[in-house]
């Protein structure tokens, strides 16, 4: 976490490693939407409130 912070990022503890499964699926869905939405590979999900 510290090393990530040092690099200018904001690390977030997103829970246990098993959450990686859902996160991976979310990312995959995002990849499939890049072309129809005209986005590039640097597009990202944003969680807002």
């Amino acid at each position: 976490m510290r090393t990530v912070e040092d690099g200018g990022l904001r690390p977030i503890d997103a829970g246990p490693l098993r959450r990686a499964s859902e996160f991976e699926a979310l990312k995959f869905f995002g990849i499939t939407q890049q072309r129809p939405l005209g986005l590039n590979v640097a597009s990202a999900w944003k969680l807002i409130s």
Partner: protein, 164 residues
């Protein structure tokens, strides 16, 4: 903490740049040392204090505390086979992309599986979806030794605008 990246491609470049920007050192373990040397020297030029960006061959010992898997998804198996026991106690970041690039219609990982369990690469990967038919791969048992692993992808997803 210093980091080692297995791989020296685009993802390794981005992550390596952040490591060096934070005053930490990075080492790239690469199949193509020439390409890695170019990347390392660019990052070394950006170093402001004592941090270093160096290269070594994939297969050389890993000395750093953080290990980033910046290799193609299917290459993880061979990395695990080479480094398995050496990775014990280190912090790992698996950033590999498990998308089936050919069809772009599925992931190679199983829905509901944890944590990112992998199967042996090769034909069984695509043709035998039954979990029971596949013995635990070295990659899988190796993952179990990384209780502190977090997906670097989630960290990168929170990246604010570059501050330098």
């Amino acid at each position: 903490l210093n980091a080692t990246s297995t791989g020296a491609g685009n993802m390794a470049r981005g992550i390596g740049a952040r490591v060096v920007a934070g005053g930490n050192s990075v080492r790239f373990l690469a199949l193509d040392p020439e390409r890695a040397d170019g990347l390392a020297s660019k990052l070394q030029d950006q170093a402001q204090e004592g941090e270093t960006a160096t290269t070594s061959s994939l297969g050389d010992p890993i000395e750093n505390d953080i290990v980033v898997l910046a290799v193609p998804y299917r290459a993880v198996q061979s990395v695990a086979e080479r480094y398995g026991p050496e990775l014990s106690g280190k912090v790992g970041a698996d950033i590999t992309n498990a998308s089936d690039r050919e069809s772009m219609d599925r992931l190679f990982t199983h829905a509901g599986s944890s944590p990112r369990p992998r199967r042996s690469p090769g034909s069984s990967l695509a043709r035998h979806p039954s979990r029971r038919s596949t013995p635990p791969s070295p990659a899988r048992s190796w993952r179990g030794r990384w209780p502190t692993t977090r997906s670097m992808c989630s960290l990168l997803a929170t990246k604010p605008a570059p501050n330098r």
